[in-house]
Symmetry: C2
Subunit: 369 residues, 2 copies
């Protein structure tokens, strides 16, 4: 290993104390400009970079952020992570990735969360779609650990800042779009009902129907699994009904399920959009490529990631104060339990071929990369 240059080396070379070096490194005001200049130069020359580890130990916190994600291969996770990463990398923080891999889903992310908290490696946690395990998160949060949640969870856990998409409105717009295209028998393939988003999207679907004076036909609403297989299964059931009862349009609660619908339609010899209009939800990158290109509701992943991580960073910066020095803390202003922010970001309807609103146009196949 090459020689490691420490702050002490710099101090010696600059003929000052390590304290002073530390000061300029942290942009403290009280330093002679000339000295500062000199130190900076030497730091540069020597290629000195402070040891995060040591700094963290001494200061009682680390410039590291935990990011907890599910499968990683889920549709929008990489996009989300990308926007998070780009924000993180513009700061001096690093990002530690924890994924709830399929295998150890049972031993729950509870374990991971314990690890995150106990180890004190990171200064905060951004949890993406943590599923059922948000109970652990509230525990974390209650201990004063900065946590921000993205989406998910039925009643968003109290006290945890939360960022999500406006699922209900997105679903409403998708359904309304189908209604405007003249459809009257519109089916809905729901996500698993254990997820809150499934209910929200269903609500949006109902909103649109009711607004149009159509009534919700329960037999046109099936519960899927967010995966293509489930979409296909439901579509098969829906589409094999007698023509007079068969839906002319389907709103699937996820793009994946919409893929399943496409497969089912093909099996039955139904053309999309001519015989069946289809709208999905998510706007997976792949959805612009499937044939027919899928009309869908785009989730504001980029904004979600960005806002969430910025919020978390803010929380962490605030948390700085109550170091473990037992000082005459100004009797702490009663730790006003400010409402945790709830940010709901708007979705947007992306119109492609599958809903029949467009002439089939080859350029629609071009990826939007």
């Amino acid at each position: 290993m090459a020689h490691k240059v420490t702050i002490l080396d710099i101090a010696r070379l600059a003929k000052v104390s390590t304290t002073t070096v530390s000061r300029v490194l942290h942009n403290k005001p009280d330093v002679d400009p000339a000295t500062r200049e000199r130190i900076l130069r030497i730091v540069e020359e020597q290629g000195f970079v402070p040891s995060i580890t040591a700094a963290g130990l001494a200061a009682g916190r680390n410039p590291l952020i935990s990011v907890l994600v599910p499968a990683l291969t889920w549709p929008l996770i990489p996009e989300l992570l990308l926007s998070v990463a780009s924000v993180v990398e513009s700061t001096s923080y690093e990002m530690v990735l924890y994924s709830i891999s399929s295998s150890n889903h049972e031993r729950d992310c509870g374990k991971i969360i314990d690890r995150i908290l106990a180890t004190r490696l990171t200064a905060g946690l951004l949890a993406v779609f943590p599923g059922q395990s948000s109970q652990h998160l509230t525990r974390l949060r209650r201990q004063g650990f900065p946590v921000v949640l993205i989406d998910d969870q039925s009643p968003p856990p109290e006290g945890i800042p939360w960022i999500g998409a406006d699922n209900r409105r997105g679903a409403y717009e998708a359904t309304r779009h189908l209604i405007e295209l003249g459809h009257r028998r519109i089916a809905h393939i729901q996500g698993p009902l254990k997820y809150c988003v499934s209910h929200e999207r269903y609500q949006g679907y109902c909103d649109a129907l009711q607004e149009a004076g159509l009534e919700v036909d329960p037999s046109l609403v099936l519960e899927g699994d967010f995966m293509p297989a489930g979409g296909q299964r439901c579509a098969l059931a829906l589409l094999s009904r007698p023509a007079s009862e068969r839906p002319t349009a389907i709103f699937a609660a996820s793009d994946y399920m919409a893929y399943g619908v496409i497969a089912a339609a093909e099996t039955l010899g139904l053309r999309i959009p001519q015989d069946l209009a289809l709208v999905g939800f998510d706007d997976n990158p792949a959805s612009a490529h499937v044939r027919p290109a899928l009309t869908t509701v785009r989730q504001p992943v980029h904004a979600m990631g960005e806002q969430a991580i910025k919020l978390l960073l803010e929380m962490i910066e605030q948390e700085q104060m109550p170091r473990r020095r037992r000082q005459t803390l100004p009797a702490t202003a009663e730790e006003s339990p400010r409402e945790a922010p709830r940010i709901v970001l708007p979705t947007s309807l992306v119109i492609r071929e599958s809903c029949g609103a467009l002439q089939r146009h080859p350029s629609a196949l071009l990826p939007e990369i």
Copy 2:
């Protein structure tokens, strides 16, 4: 913040010294079984987890691993990361993610790499498709920092363990498959020639043609960009030639470009696979969903990630020895510069609809998730 329990607390509760606690935590042999038992119990009760930071500082290394990836939204990256993450999470290491986000690509990952090395936060680096910047990596490696590379780079940088896919053979098999289906005018859309893999895949293409006694027609080989747009552009050029010169099959060097070919074919009213056979390369998750489902060469991403991270972990464990203690190092056995491992993993041809080898069968649309 909840009270943080330290090793000292444990020691007090167990009425032993921190040294002893440390010993049992590290499974050192010389500890009275009864004492060990007692300590372990208390550790459990208190939910004590050692501070990574402090341990790292004291021991001179951290149980952290840097993983450097490009875009994250690139086709196979999430899958790769997934297998890496699952291995990492089965150890006591954590994984720090660095991504070469689009924006700061110019300031190069050189900067990130500096950060990785200088900061000494992590004990090793797994670099995935690092592109041009592998020069920085060799520097890292030369300083004795454990580095493992996945794929990429023309002459794989010396001295760096390297894991890759057998691009040439994969391309060979894809092309041979087309030949076996009776095609004679087979075009190839290459990746950007600045990438080594593009050449390798081209070589495989040539191998198959030559083996079949066909000659390589340079006018049937176009350079693309790995993206759908480039694939479409090339396909348009290829397919608008007079029928007698038009290729009957296209082998695209990436699935993305194959998507572009599909779009182009549709524009020109050509049916796949009836009028044009198509094979891609990568096996993106989406490729099973596009219509027609894409025949392609699957990269062994899972194995690549797993092997790479395991290799890295081994290197790190070895590196342990030469701590910075100035002991009477046994005159070091001349640091035998063992050849850095080069592991080439086999690809596999995934036959779907686009090559025409299959009857079009709806179930082929089912995702393989």
